[in-house]
């Protein structure tokens, strides 16, 4: 299961990398979203996948899932949600001001 999940997150990160390399503002923003998903999956996988028990530790618990990665991912999701929202607004404003969303045309020149 771990192997499969690692490959899954690898594929997602590869897709994200591809999107990062494209020239469109919006696709780069989607790349950010994909990248965060891939990384969150990686956190969950690398800390070990347990089956059959909730992340609750009672006095006589025989098995439990590690709750920390889940807490970490939850926080990271909230952060990446906020950052993505900001990035989308920024992309929209940049598009409005410059009239293009092609990053190649947004390189700028030296004498501004």
């Amino acid at each position: 299961m771990e192997i499969l999940m690692i490959f899954t997150s690898g594929i997602i990160i590869a897709v994200a990398t591809y999107l990062f390399m494209t020239r469109s503002l919006l696709r780069v923003a989607f790349g950010v979203v994909m990248l965060s998903h891939g990384v969150h999956l990686l956190i969950l996988t690398l800390s070990g996948l347990e089956t059959g028990a909730p992340p609750l530790l009672t006095e006589n618990a025989e098995a439990y899932t590690d709750p920390l990665p889940q807490a970490v991912i939850l926080t990271a999701i909230v952060i990446s949600f906020g950052v993505t929202a900001f990035l989308l607004v920024l992309a929209y404003r940049t598009y409005k001001e410059h009239g293009t969303e092609d990053l190649e045309e947004l390189r700028g020149n030296a004498d501004e």
Partner: protein, 494 residues
């Protein structure tokens, strides 16, 4: 008494949150933010003093014992950095009162200024790797907003790149964190250090180390990851550029210092050689780019990069003297670099341009500005008896003692180029016949612009003239971070 560690994080956070409500009252915002900053400065001084007196202070948040909960740790290095951030915060705020536009004040300048400081201080004080990530994000989001407010074409374009590169770095931080958690089963810095000492620094640990180095290298503008810095620091007004140039990159440097003195210290021949090569390249390329520029602010932004190289050089040599020199250099650089950016802002306000070729003769019309600039310029170039000399002296001396002659040669040559480009600014801006008529600048009052810079100039002179006591303190700091067991014992108990 331990709770004092919380103050530098809590004060700006609460201030920022409250100030959001008062966006339509600029005067109230100014007064209250000035008061809050001064309180924060006092708290940081108190923090440094109590850490100096009582040793490392730790706070376990929510009373969850370490390593299960999040801890805040104030050791000498962290509290020194907090003190530097407060000093920069105070002066940049007072400079902002003079230079910031009404629109910016209305659009949440002060709240995000404080949130930025929350993130910076939190990153310095936290003892938990994931918490470090969270504080990085707090700092970054605020910096995004401070950089982009105003929304000119240039700002929007460059901020987009700045935001994307930083989000990429954050995601990589999370991936590195996943590796480390998978390896050690903990996120507490002290506990990670303990675990890695037991399992040994094998290949996979080195992978995580290099990933973290890339992440912090992006934040701290190390070679080859500094390309985002010059353009994005060029856009915002001088007060913000001074805060960013002085402080933000140092957070990345601090994180590199923290991880590579506490956690990844068992394979020095690999990790610290990488650091050494990066330090040399960062210094050389940063300064060469600065020499080629004819724009006041651009020269300064490229100098940020080359100065980062010196700090990493000290860490890479990894002797007590070298690390002390590097910490001294951080302190010196925060002070002088912020001052230089404010000078750029002041000259821009007077002349209306950043282009060196369009300015001349300010020595005749504004002698005070000229001589104060001269002091900070020679300080950053490393002329005795100013602070820059002593940090570079310690670095060069330790390099010679460690028989690393190449890096010493590089550091000295880069020093010459630094002096050259600073003198270039001085010659173009201040020498020659005055280009301005009296009527052009008579409405700009110079004294309020210079007042916030004066504390920095006093500091750089004081750090030079009283190098002995300052250096003794910094050597204590270096000894403390070079012995990870002190930190580990303080956090985890005996």
């Amino acid at each position: 008494m331990n709770n004092i560690v919380l103050l530098p994080v809590l004060i700006p956070f609460i201030a920022g949150a409250v100030l959001i409500l008062f966006r339509h009252f600029p005067k109230l915002q100014r007064i209250s933010s000035a008061v809050v900053m001064l309180v924060m400065l006092a708290a940081s001084v108190l923090l440094v003093y109590s850490v100096y007196q009582d040793g490392i202070l730790t706070v376990e948040l929510g009373n969850w014992p370490a390593p299960f909960g999040i801890v805040l740790v104030g050791d000498l290095f962290a509290s020194l950095m907090v003190l530097l951030s407060s000093i920069t915060g105070v002066t940049c705020l007072f400079f902002a009162f003079q230079t910031i536009t009404k629109e910016r004040e209305k659009y949440f300048f002060y709240p995000f200024y404080f949130f930025l400081l929350t993130g910076v201080n939190g990153s310095f004080l936290t003892g938990d790797l994931f918490n470090l990530f969270v504080f990085f994000e707090v700092m970054l989001i605020s910096s995004f907003i401070l950089i982009v407010t105003g929304g000119t074409k240039f700002q929007l374009r460059e901020s987009y790149k700045y935001v994307v590169i930083n989000i990429f770095a954050s995601m990589m931080f999370l991936a590195a964190l996943a590796y480390i958690y998978g390896l050690t089963g903990t996120l507490n810095l002290a506990h990670i250090a303990q675990q890695i000492e037991e399992i040994g620094q094998t290949g996979v640990v080195n992978t995580a180390a290099i990933m973290l180095l890339i992440v912090f290298g992006i934040k701290g503008a190390l070679f080859p990851l500094y390309f985002w810095l010059p353009q994005s620091y060029y856009g915002p007004p001088a007060a913000i550029a001074a805060l960013f140039g002085g402080l933000l990159t140092k957070v990345g440097v601090y994180a590199i210092f923290r991880t590579f003195t506490l956690i990844f210290v068992h394979d020095i021949s690999f990790t610290h050689t990488v650091l050494l090569v990066l330090a040399a390249l960062t210094m050389v390329l940063g300064v060469l780019a600065a020499v080629a520029q004819f724009n006041f602010k651009m020269i300064l932004t490229y100098h940020i990069i080359s100065q980062i190289g010196y700090m990493i050089m000290g860490l890479a040599i990894f002797t007590p003297l070298a690390v002390a020199g590097a910490i001294y250099h951080i302190a010196h650089n925060v002070v002088v670099k912020s001052a230089l950016f404010m000078f750029a802002g002041a000259t821009q306000k007077i002349t209306g341009t950043n282009n060196l070729k369009e300015m001349s003769g300010l020595l005749k019309t504004h002698p005070a500005l000229a001589w104060l600039f001269f002091i900070s310029a020679v300080s950053i170039a490393g002329i005795p008896p100013l602070s820059g000399f002593f940090s570079k002296f310690a670095l060069v001396l330790s390099g010679l003692e460690a028989e690393m002659y190449v890096i010493v040669a590089v550091a000295l040559i880069v020093g010459v180029f630094t002096l050259f480009s600073m003198m270039k600014i001085f010659i173009y801006v201040f020498w020659g016949s005055p280009s301005l008529q009296r009527s052009d600048y008579s409405h700009i009052k110079l004294a309020p612009l210079l007042m916030p810079i004066v504390p920095f100039i006093v500091l750089t002179i004081a750090m030079g003239l009283f190098a002995e006591p300052v250096f003794t303190f910094i050597q204590l700091t270096a000894d403390q971070i070079l012995d990870p067991s002190i930190y580990i014992d303080a956090v985890l108990g005996e």
